[in-house]
Amino acid sequence: MSFRVVHYINQFFAGIGGEEKADHKPEIREGVVGPGQALQASLGDDATVVATVICGDGYFAENIDKALEEILALVAPYKPDLLVAGPAFNAGRYGTASGGVCAMVGEKLGIPTVTGMHPENPGVDMYRKNTYIVETADSARGLRKAVPVMAGLGLKLLKGEPISSPAEEGYLEKGVRHNVFLSRVGAERAAEMLAKKLRGEEFVTEYPMPSFDRVAPAAPLKDLKNATIALVTSGGICPKNNPDHIEASSASKYGAYSIENFDKLSCEDSETAHGGYDPTYANDDPNRVLPVDVLRDMEKQGVFKKLYGTYFTTVGNGTPVANAKRFGAEIAKKLKADGVDAVILTST
């Protein structure tokens, strides 16, 4: 039998129109449309594109929840075994829509999904964990190369064949780790990698570091005497008994606690939630991680105007970069809104 595939594309690839037709509402057509022809050619006899669902990029972006519901309602009656979306290349709204449709259809219908995007498409970071995103060029010139890879991956998923590494299959990392057995122990492999690195030869890491973005340095503080200073820490300092249960590692949250009435922290009122270092010293004297005592004294001496009344805290111990980024953005927003001039961030 032939597997049933539904294909998602935008108004542009459907030939309906460009930006002037971006408000096109979701519709579904029998069989292939536009790039679906190439998709069908690559799928061969094993799978058939039974329908193509089309939605304008603008309509999707402006009505995400509604559009997703409408698209799901159109797709479900075709009882697909696989959904393919795009490829969206580096088109941001199309990528977001493709990823969103894959994520939702995958979840609601319980079927595998595949899409294709350029690594810099914002849809990648949003949906890489929810679907397979094949790496593509940044424009439609890469269609001919991308579609066979997407089709091949889709067929493997349909047949339940094992999916190997992102590099071998051509998809962008999903952040999933698999256990594998290798004949040589880690120490040997690491030493070989190091030797290659020292010789200036190419090597492939088994554990890529996350990529961190860069932020331009903030302007210097002009008037310390009139400044409000805030304290933020990744050292896990929190009120005694960790009332919000901030995790000892891989933190999913941060806490905000008042120091309005504190001249200093003490083992009576505070402790650390951090599970990545010996907590003895921080628990004995939490000022060793969060220097409330010194800052309160300096505030009284008039070195600066005010110690901000709340400190923000989380545990920096295997914390996913995405979480840390979100905590940082939320905390910064609050501090700015409250007129804080500078922040001292302590980490262990």
Partner: protein, 63 residues
């Protein structure tokens, strides 16, 4: 303020003050409480100095 400066550099901090040790970045349990307070005060003063310094790239403020 941090103990493992290479991590702060990796994650992109722009004004970095090297601290004392991982379990007590702003103290030293081997010293008296008064000495510890002085260590902490010195580090906070350094961070104020860093905050008031114009930097164009990641900068580590050593003594």
């Amino acid at each position: 303020m941090c103990t493992i400066v290479p991590i702060s550099l990796t994650v992109g901090a722009n004004r970095i003050i090297p601290a004392v040790a991982i379990p007590y970045p702003l103290g030293d349990p081997a010293k008296t409480p008064e000495e510890e307070y002085e260590i902490r005060k010195h580090l906070v003063e350094k961070s104020f100095k860093a905050l008031q310094t114009e930097v164009s790239e990641q900068t580590v403020f050593n003594d």
